[in-house]
């Protein structure tokens, strides 16, 4: 079958019911979607299918003929980061980074469908994604900043709202 990933059409020969995750990682060598659970429970494998986020581990690759798959490699490269990638960097939204690709694609889908900087709406949109490191605060900060269209200085990172430094006492 033909599978279009980040604008490039690939001929894919794999097991008939192979998941999109397996095809991307094992056949095409695109390793940004992670096998976090292979049960649809964590969101680490989420990619965009025609602009909407979808769990690659739950998706038979065969069902995607004619559709456009976008992984995080398709958002932007180091020298041409997308606004959301800049937001994640500036707001320190990635610690170990393992959930980050799926998280960003879910957020990208949210922004594409007109998502705002409303924190509850962001929480609802990303609810299926587990991050064990950040406590989610800075991820929400990043998505909200991208939704607002903030510009980002990548030489520094932003403090969390609700943070006070009393110095030595």
């Amino acid at each position: 079958m033909k599978l279009t990933v980040n604008g490039i059409a690939h001929d894919v020969v794999s097991a008939p019911l192979a998941t999109l995750l397996d095809v991307l990682r094992e056949d095409l060598g695109i390793t940004s979607p992670k096998a976090g659970c292979e049960q649809g429970g964590c969101g680490a494998c989420t990619v965009l299918v025609d602009g909407e986020p979808q769990r690659a581990c739950l998706t038979p690759a065969a069902s995607l003929e004619g559709l456009e798959v976008t992984t995080v490699e398709g958002l932007g490269a180091p020298e041409s980061l997308s606004p959301l990638q800049q937001a994640f960097t500036h707001h320190y939204a990635a610690q170990c980074g393992f959930c980050t690709s799926g998280m960003m694609l879910a957020a990208e889908g949210y922004l594409k469908r007109g998502g705002t900087d409303d924190r509850e709406a962001i929480q609802e949109a990303l609810a299926g994604h587990v991050c064990r490191c950040t406590g989610y605060v800075k991820i929400i900060d990043a998505v909200a900043a991208a939704a607002r269209g903030d510009s980002f200085d990548l030489t520094v990172t932003a403090p969390s709202a609700g943070m006070t430094n009393l110095g030595g006492v």
């Binding site: 008939p16 192979a18 049960q39 998706t59 038979p60 065969a62 609802e124 609810a127 299926g128």
Partner: protein
């Protein structure tokens, strides 16, 4: 092994029906959210897989008072019924998360078997309370029957759609724990028909979703109905909650649903 799986990819309802045949040896894949992990984990190795994603079964038709929901409609699209069938929309939005609701289908959810130590089949509750009829095909051809009956004998059948009449009012209450969740511990749906009848159903119990007929009979008095609900159900322990907890909270949810129905009416 999946290397040998024959994958069928119908592009119309009729093609799907023909390829399903008598259902023997066919694994139906709606959105894949339930079946695909079972294959990945080696617990299921379909010989023949019927993928419904392009079979045209993702319809949602509202014709006057009648609603028909295609079996392959993504769960999230039930939110479009927020005004007409509030409880169904609320229940749908309570399923998993945005991505799963886009991918998982109404039919897959309604036909879900036992979960891995957590309840499945959330949508059975509202559809049972709506007294939905299930239209399915199988060895003896097409059949339209109450959802209750379909669920009891669904092996070897392909669900095509669910049909019901819009209610006068509906209400939904669930245990909101955890706040971010895939599965719902316990939920109750209440429906007030245009004829003034009250119907109640619960999910999160042992087995399939259950009509709470004793509670319905006592529904004019929410306290009595709440107590009566326990006569209708069998509860069990799972990873999310114990049977004890479900027994304690089912009456609470029934009472809350009935009072919400009162307010809506």
């Amino acid at each position: 092994m999946t290397q040998g799986t024959e994958v069928l990819f119908p592009t119309s309802a009729n093609e799907a029906i023909a390829q399903f045949g008598d259902g023997s040896g066919v694994t139906v894949i709606g959105g894949g959210t339930i079946v695909m992990p079972e294959i990945t984990y080696g617990r299921m190795a379909p010989t023949k897989a019927l993928l419904l994603s392009r079979a045209g079964l993702d319809t949602l038709e509202v014709d006057g008072a009648s609603v028909t929901v295609g079996a392959a409609l993504p769960i999230g699209r039930l939110a479009e019924l927020a005004e007409d069938v509030t409880a169904l929309a609320q229940c749908a939005l309570n399923v998993a998360d945005y991505e799963i609701r886009r991918q998982g289908t109404v039919g897959g959810n309604v036909c879900a078997g036992e979960g891995h130590d957590a309840p499945r089949g959330d949508l059975q509750g509202p559809f049972l309370a709506l007294a939905a009829e299930a239209c399915s095909v199988g060895a003896d051809g097409e059949r339209t029957e109450p959802l209750d009956d379909f669920l009891a004998h669904r092996a070897g059948r392909l669900l095509l759609d669910l049909r019901f009449e819009k209610p006068a009012a509906s209400a939904f209450a669930a245990i909101d724990y955890p706040h971010t969740h895939e599965y719902t511990v316990l939920a109750v749906t209440g429906v007030r028909t245009t004829g003034g009848e009250t119907r109640l159903a619960a999910t999160g119990l042992a087995g399939y979703g259950t009509r709470l007929r004793s509670a319905e009979a006592a529904s004019s008095d929410p306290e009595q109905a709440a107590a009566a609900a326990l006569k209708d159900v069998t509860v069990g322990d799972d990873a999310l909650a114990s049977g004890w907890y479900r027994e304690r909270t089912l009456p609470v949810l029934v009472r809350r649903v009935l009072s919400e129905l009162e307010e809506a009416a």
